[in-house]
């Protein structure tokens, strides 16, 4: 890790802690929303940016996580227990869903997850006895940790920050372990990775399940943030939005989804002055980013950085030419 990187991380963490000070409730709410979507998008980044699989069910997994936590906490179970259940449930469902799809053919995961997302919506809406149907669940409590009550916006923000940092840390740990190398290898050249003893199907499945369980965690945070959940919040459109975060930010980059989530959550806010036209402008911006920098914004940044760096003299190039 370079000094620059460490400095960046410290600045980022401090900025996270200072961000809400003096801000209105609305801004704090938006910041919470950004962190929660960052967690979900980081999960999808694992599936997409590292294991190279398209999942279109990230919203469904968020929904499952949110409903599990909402139902349990409303029944009086502590949030810590509920979040554990949310994460486990989404992990197991991810395994069960991914296994048959990945066994068949790799790009079929996209189709299966798309159908799964639509099915989850139907179940959430129709099974009224459990989920409250289309009217949703209202009045989800916010967690209390001893003397620390997250009912107010600011404490809830710090609670979200802690969850975010723990998740990001765990993710960074995993990516630095041999698993991370295996995920990268999977993305770069799955056939080669396979020939080096990597069980590609199993690793892809794991990436998908872990990515899904991160959506479960995001859902478990979103339920107490909004204090209301309804099936319509977890449709395919949200899955596509999360996909957008990952791609626009830069898939395969650790900070890509975090940047992407910031853009997707905040951009409509910044474009609001354009009145009714902001979605049109938003769509145009996405198109332009995709056309000019398919690797997303971080990919673009990296390209610029490389272009600006003075070329390092490499002796081996000459030697290589002779070899």
């Amino acid at each position: 890790m370079t000094a620059f990187r460490i400095l960046f991380l410290i600045t980022f963490s401090v900025a996270l802690l200072l961000a809400p000070i003096g801000q209105s409730n609305y801004i704090i709410y938006i910041l919470c929303s950004w962190l929660i979507f960052s967690i979900s998008a980081m999960g999808l980044n694992l599936t997409l940016g590292y294991a190279g699989q398209i999942s279109l069910a990230q919203a469904a997994f968020m929904g499952i996580g949110a409903y599990v936590t909402a139902l349990l906490t409303m029944a009086g179970v502590h949030w810590l227990v509920a979040v554990f259940c949310s994460i486990s449930a989404t992990f197991l469902i991810g395994l069960a869903l991914g296994y048959p799809a990945l066994r068949v053919q790799h790009h079929f995961l996209a189709f299966v997850t798309l159908a799964f997302n639509a099915l989850v919506f139907l179940v959430l809406r129709n099974e009224e006895w459990l989920t409250g149907g289309s009217l949703g669940l209202v009045g989800i409590p916010r967690p209390v940790f001893g003397p620390f009550d997250t009912m107010k916006q600011l404490p809830f923000y710090y609670f979200t920050v802690v969850c975010f940092l723990v998740t990001a840390g765990a993710m960074a740990w995993m990516l630095r372990s041999p698993w991370g190398r295996a995920f990268k290898a999977l993305r770069e050249n799955p056939i080669r990775a396979n020939s080096l003893g990597l069980n590609t199907t199993r690793m892809t499945l794991l990436a998908f399940a872990i990515g899904s369980s991160m959506a479960g965690l995001a859902g478990a945070l979103q339920a107490p943030l909004v204090q209301f959940i309804e099936p319509g919040s977890f449709t395919l459109i949200l899955s596509l939005k999360i996909l957008l975060m990952v791609i626009v930010g830069g898939s395969g980059y650790f900070f890509g989804p975090i940047l992407g989530a910031a853009l997707v959550v905040l951009l409509p806010e910044m474009l609001r002055f354009t009145d009714g036209y902001y979605l049109i402008i938003y769509a145009l911006l996405v198109l332009v980013v995709m056309i000019f920098s398919p690797q997303g914004l971080l990919g673009l940044g990296r390209k610029l950085l490389i272009a600006m760096k003075p070329r390092k003299e490499r002796g081996d190039l000459k030697q290589g030419a002779q070899l």
Binding site: I54, V112, I280, L284
Partner: protein, 292 residues
């Protein structure tokens, strides 16, 4: 009996239009590995070209339809290919997927903002006359929809199989590198595919709008159904998309009447998942072979 017949006829009539959208989906996939998430909006838009032609420029219906046709081919076909697909193709599927999602949003919001947020009535090309057919009500419109959709798909199939250009397009779809070696102008063939998709979208739009009304958000449902139909039928076969579309149309109605109206949209989805697991190449599709 009359009930079942009614379901079948209504289902086929809707299904024929789903099939048109699904065929376009399949064509783009074959020609350029493009999963077009804006396909639903592609079917939504031409109806508004017609309406705009009639209300803003005072064109008669036939002229408006003709204009809409040309506009669809140019905008949804050529411009889509040139401005969106082409620059992104070298970078793999993902950026293109996102781009088509954004494009769908752009089209939807533009119609809403510049035309109307509300549904619009759309003139029917065919008489609304209803006939009794063994106890089931069949409108002339239904029959005409079926006929036009079938005719379009059969014509397309014949074109692909019987003409030189069509065969060149198929060769391109199967393996662009080989096609190139055989002297096929691959770029042009891919372009043709996009033009055809634009034309099919226009046909579907003009057939469907008198019944479904023209609304900016119509593409959401339609796109999803076309997508499912294409996969269920077989992503690499035009026949497959036809069968898939008809099947989904009938199944949707059957499910609503006999299984559960609340879960009617679940049935095609479950079918999709089952198909992927037991017959991933789709009902009519041929196996793509194991990708090593």
């Amino acid at each position: 009996m009359a009930e079942l017949l009614q379901i079948l006829i209504s289902g086929l009539s809707s299904g024929a239009i789903y099939a048109l959208a699904a065929v376009g989906f399949t064509l783009l996939w074959q020609a350029s590995q493009t999963i077009n998430f804006a396909q639903g909006e592609f079917v939504m838009l031409p109806a508004f070209f017609v309406l705009a032609g009639m209300t803003l420029f005072g064109l008669p219906l036939w002229a408006a339809i003709l204009t809409a046709f040309v506009l669809s081919i140019v905008i949804l076909g050529a411009m889509f290919k040139k401005l969106v697909v082409e620059p992104m193709l070298p970078h793999g599927t993902m950026p293109l997927v996102i781009a088509t999602i954004a494009l769908g949003l752009l089209m939807k919001e533009s119609v809403k903002e510049f035309y109307s947020a509300q549904g619009q009535p759309f003139p029917s090309l065919f008489p609304q006359h209803v006939m009794d057919f063994f106890g089931a009500s069949v409108s002339v419109q239904d029959l005409c929809n079926l006929a036009v959709a079938f005719a379009a798909i059969i014509a397309l199939q014949l074109f692909l199989q019987r003409t030189r250009t069509g065969r060149a397009m198929q060769a391109t779809a199967q393996d662009p590198r080989v096609a190139e070696i055989l002297g096929v102008d691959v770029k042009r063939m891919v372009m043709y595919t996009f033009l055809i998709n634009g034309a099919l979208a226009a046909i579907a739009s003009i057939l469907i709008s008198p019944v479904y009304l023209a609304k900016f958000s119509n593409g959401e449902t339609l796109g999803m159904i076309a997508f499912i139909a294409a996969i269920v039928g077989g992503f690499n076969q035009i026949r497959g998309a036809l069968v898939g579309g008809l099947l989904i149309g009938v199944l949707d109605n059957l499910a609503a009447v006999y299984i559960s109206a609340e879960y009617r949209t679940a049935i095609p989805l479950i079918l999709l998942i089952v198909i992927i697991m037991v017959r991933p190449q789709g009902i009519m599709g041929t196996s793509e072979g194991r990708t090593v």
